[in-house]
């Protein structure tokens, strides 16, 4: 495993917008607002940004040419720029592109940007499965993003005895974190395990409280070379390890539901960072549905195969427990920014800025992302200088 990218690039600035239902918002406007906030946070002039990498929102009309529209809107002619559409895997993949570009001198300050008005902009996440063949046409009633995860949850339950109550503990602990985050959509709404059990089924075995939110919002991270770390306005957050991996073959792959590509992405990130699970103090694990967190825990090696049910069921992912997970509230309870806020919160924790939800003395954070019918994945290990 090449270690040439380890600690070469830092997060210099982070920005976000209010989250939730923002009437009148647009994907472009939200991305710009997040970018402005990240530029201010980094303490740089926006014209120092020479890399623009964007993840078009579900409501961005430009599709894969979004980077040009965004750069035009903020008046920047970048040296390095593209858009990428990997759903919840986009943020991590763009951060990796930025790390490579900066390490090799292709750009100095790269902004990674996402904005979407999925909540008020009319996005429908309920379409049939992607792909131009019989599997995508609704012939067997397969619609929306829930069912693949529900299929995986069913198998995990059948093979390993995982229970819905265990998922309820996870949902509650992530919600407890959101209750400590004033910016979280669910900041003032507490839930119990019983609330989870009583919530209606969306796609059985997944209840409503197993599912992420749908949100408007924007997020931006500005990255630069670690050589500039000592001159930065903010405490630098080093990107120590990054991996990505994909699963394109599902129907000829008996292990599709277990998402084994995630194991590859995690292994590459840990190898690059020269770290083990024992070194991880806090984790931001992509939680489109509760069950996803269990797969991340097992593939990272925090627990063995099939063992994540009891781990989350015994509240071992709670703040103050051995592995705090999704300290800002995650996709489930903070906001559904397709994993971008997971990276943002990782930086917050590494700066020590988490306030009441800060993991004391945290030095290493694992963040993960995954998208497009579970098929794109990546993992980032970030650290501070402490």
């Amino acid at each position: 495993m090449a270690k040439t990218l380890k600690d070469k690039v830092v997060i210099a600035g982070i920005g976000k917008t209010p989250q939730g239902a923002i009437e009148g918002s647009t994907a472009l406007g939200l991305g710009i607002e997040a970018f402005k906030n990240a530029v201010a946070d980094a303490g740089i002039n926006k014209n120092e940004v020479d890399g623009i990498l964007t993840h078009p929102g579900t409501t961005s009309p430009e599709g894969a040419t979004h980077y040009l529209r965004f750069a035009q809107a903020v008046g920047i002619n970048p040296r390095y720029s593209h858009s990428l559409v990997m759903g919840g895997g986009s943020g991590g993949a763009l951060v990796q592109s930025a790390v490579m570009a900066i390490t090799h001198g292709l750009a100095d300050y790269v902004a990674c940007i996402f904005g979407d008005s999925a909540r008020t902009g009319g996005t429908r996440f309920g379409g049939a499965m992607a792909g131009g063949n019989e599997l995508s046409q609704g012939i067997w009633g397969m619609f929306g993003p829930h069912a693949n995860s529900a299929m995986g949850a069913r198998r995990h339950m059948a093979l390993y005895g995982t229970t819905s109550e265990q998922l309820g503990h996870l949902a509650m602990n992530i919600r407890n974190n959101a209750n400590l985050n004033p910016d979280a959509v669910m900041y003032d709404r507490k839930i119990t395990v019983q609330d989870h059990q009583d919530s209606r089924y969306i796609v059985d075995p997944l209840h409503l409280l197993d599912c992420c939110l749908i949100s408007d919002g924007g997020v931006c991270m500005i990255l630069t070379s670690a050589d500039r770390a000592k001159d930065l306005k903010q405490k630098p957050v080093y990107l120590s390890g990054i991996g990505q991996a994909y699963q394109a073959v599902s129907f000829e792959n008996d292990e599709w539901w277990y998402l084994t590509h995630q194991r590859t992405a995690l292994a590459d990130a840990f190898a690059m960072a020269e770290a083990t699970t024992d070194d991880i103090d806090v984790a931001q694990l992509y939680d489109n549905f509760t069950i996803s967190v269990l797969f991340w825990l097992e593939h990272a090696g925090f627990v063995g195969r099939g063992e994540a049910g009891p781990f989350v069921g015994e509240d071992r992912t709670a703040l103050g427990a051995e592995l705090p997970v999704n300290t800002a509230g995650g996709n489930l309870s903070e906001s559904y920014m397709e994993g971008w806020l997971h990276i943002y919160e990782g930086a917050v924790q590494m700066r020590g800025d988490g306030g009441p939800r800060q993991v004391d003395g945290a030095k290493l954070c694992l963040t993960t992302g995954r998208g497009l019918n579970l098929n794109t994945s990546n993992a980032i290990i970030m650290r501070n200088d402490d």
Binding site: I139, M142, A158, L159, Y201, D204, F251, E252, D254
Partner: protein
């Protein structure tokens, strides 16, 4: 049969490969898939080349129609107006004897009878005069 209102296969919309042979066979209650004439691999979904050796040439092989229940879910949330009328309804994945995993529905059973690994066999639903849709039932022994 004229009142089947759920989505039917859009056979000529498949831009990846010709799926008419699949549905013609289904009309005769035969479940078929493409078998590579070079390496023998059976691929799914329908595609232009063998996923193992990239050979274009294939023959349509009639499958046994048997397999085991890989997983299933129950849709409660309405995503489609016609399917919603049947909610909650199951969607199942069947691991076929010949290898591929097939998306379908379990019929002629109660949800309480379903179990991962259960033996199943194809059961044809004649949706229209032309179209029969492969579904699965629990294999009684």
């Amino acid at each position: 049969m004229a009142d089947y209102t759920k989505p039917l296969p859009r056979i000529d919309d498949n831009t990846d490969a010709d799926s008419r042979a699949f549905w013609d066979a289904a009309g005769e209650h035969r479940l078929v898939m493409q078998r590579c004439t070079q390496c023998g691999h059976i691929r799914w979904p329908i595609g232009p080349v063998c996923t193992q050796c990239l050979t274009e040439e294939f023959e349509w092989q009639t499958l046994s129609g048997r397999g085991e229940l890989h997983s299933w879910v129950n849709f409660h949330q309405p995503f489609h107006p016609e399917w919603a009328k049947e909610a909650p309804y199951n969607v199942a994945l069947v691991k076929l004897e010949e290898g591929p995993i097939f998306l379908s529905n379990m019929v002629e059973c109660e949800d309480s009878e379903l179990a991962v690994g259960a033996a199943v066999e194809v059961a044809w639903e004649d949706a229209t005069e032309q179209i029969s849709i492969p579904k699965f039932r629990l294999l009684q022994d």
